[in-house]
Symmetry: none
Subunit: 220 residues, 2 copies
DNA sequence: TACATATGTATCTAAATTGTATCAATTTTA
DNA sequence: TAAAATTGATACAATTTAGATACATATGTA
């Protein structure tokens, strides 16, 4: 399930987009001004950001730069002005696409899907330190040597990697890896973390966030 | 046999890539500047182009546009700069993937294979080790000697080959080979895998991905 | 009909994965 | 600092899954 942040000051429009996207199975959050958007971006993880250029206080360009500093989250610009200048400026700053108001909802969906598809391409292989994770072949190598992980271990690793530097709640991890069909108050998750740490020799890299859950730390 | 064009002005690097790729069974040609590359692209056919962005005379972006005008050949960008901007620009222009110098050769190979898989270069004849699979005549040879496969076995083999190094879910295999009209919880698939392994002497090459399904492994 | 081939079922066995129980270590909190 | 809460470590048991084998049912062929 992809999570999309909609940054748009016109509530009529943001609501419309939200409804349409949710009908198509996306999970949406709305920020009606730049500050709220900043706050969301700092504290949550999105798969894509829809970004209006004309915003009160902080404008879309600034916001985009900020997003790109923090993460690799793709962004699509929305603007009222159908000006080529804006288009160029947006794309140069790192926007992945651009759509002008008024737009057909179908076109927006198509663009969102194109961008998400494009981003997922590059994600078949993830590299963290000397560990290479191949998501499609479900194999893991450390320093070139293959490490054998069990399915649950692999799924857990992928979740951690895809949310690196982001503390994940035990609850969230259970939901994503086990699918909430398991009792919550057991030592199962800890055990799997333990096994991952051992196999990858990631004693310190997988951090325990006391009373919260776990996090994969990947500083530059 | 896939043909790859390497466009890279640093001869040390282009040579290195060439050697590694040829060791893995790709046929390679090298162009050390944009003009030579143009010339090659006009006159020959490639399955994939590796494209350095920083080139003398004609740069990688221009070259990519030119390639995409002429053909549907997929392209992967190589660049020294690990800048998000470049990444976006490249992908927007139609690059299929992106890799930053310095890179692990293994990662480059994986990305090349991912792109080729995506393009599904529908080669009529596929070669895996000493096994030659002719998809149109539906015949299989191992070390030049014909192996007789049943229809289901052949379909299964083709599916595995066309998705090599890609873990296929049991469910997916059932869907593609049997067309979901078969009970899911049986040992049928396992049995067919077993028969394929025996006939092709591919005990280790067809890997069991525990709790997931099967994968044809074809590295190096 | 008898036979060969292809394909699926049933069943048992071996192996791998996953979870439970328990206690030790660590961190927080009072 | 002591008690409480939380997480780490270890051993083991239960469960799940895939491999192997024998056999059954088609389906077409001589």
């Amino acid at each position: 399930m992809n999570k999309i942040l909609i940054v748009e000051d016109e509530i009529a429009i943001s609501d419309l987009i939200k409804i349409e996207l949710e009908a198509r199975g996306y999970k949406c959050e709305v920020a009606n001004d730049g500050e709220t958007a900043c706050d969301f971006i700092e504290n949550k993880r999105y798969d894509l950001v829809l970004l209006d250029i004309m915003l009160p206080k902080i404008d879309g360009y600034e916001l985009l730069e900020y997003i790109k500093q923090l993460s690799e989250t793709p962004a699509i610009f929305i603007t009222a002005k159908n000006q080529t200048k804006d288009k160029i400026k947006g794309l140069n700053l790192g926007a992945d696409d651009y759509i002008a108001k008024p737009f057909e909802m179908g076109e927006l969906i198509a663009r969102i899907e194109a961008v998400l598809r494009r981003y997922n391409k590059g994600c078949e292989i993830q590299q963290i330190d000397d560990v290479e994770i191949n998501i499609v072949s479900r194999t893991v190598k450390k320093a070139g040597k293959e490490i054998s992980l069990t399915p649950k271990e692999f799924d857990l690793l992928v979740l951690l990697v895809q949310n690196k530097n982001f503390a994940l709640y035990r609850e969230t991890i259970f939901e994503k890896v086990w699918g909430e069909d398991l009792e919550f108050e057991t030592r199962t998750l800890d055990l799997h973390i333990q096994r991952l740490r051992k196999k990858l020799q990631w004693k310190d890299k997988i951090k325990t966030v006391y009373k919260i859950g776990y996090m994969l730390e990947d500083k530059i």
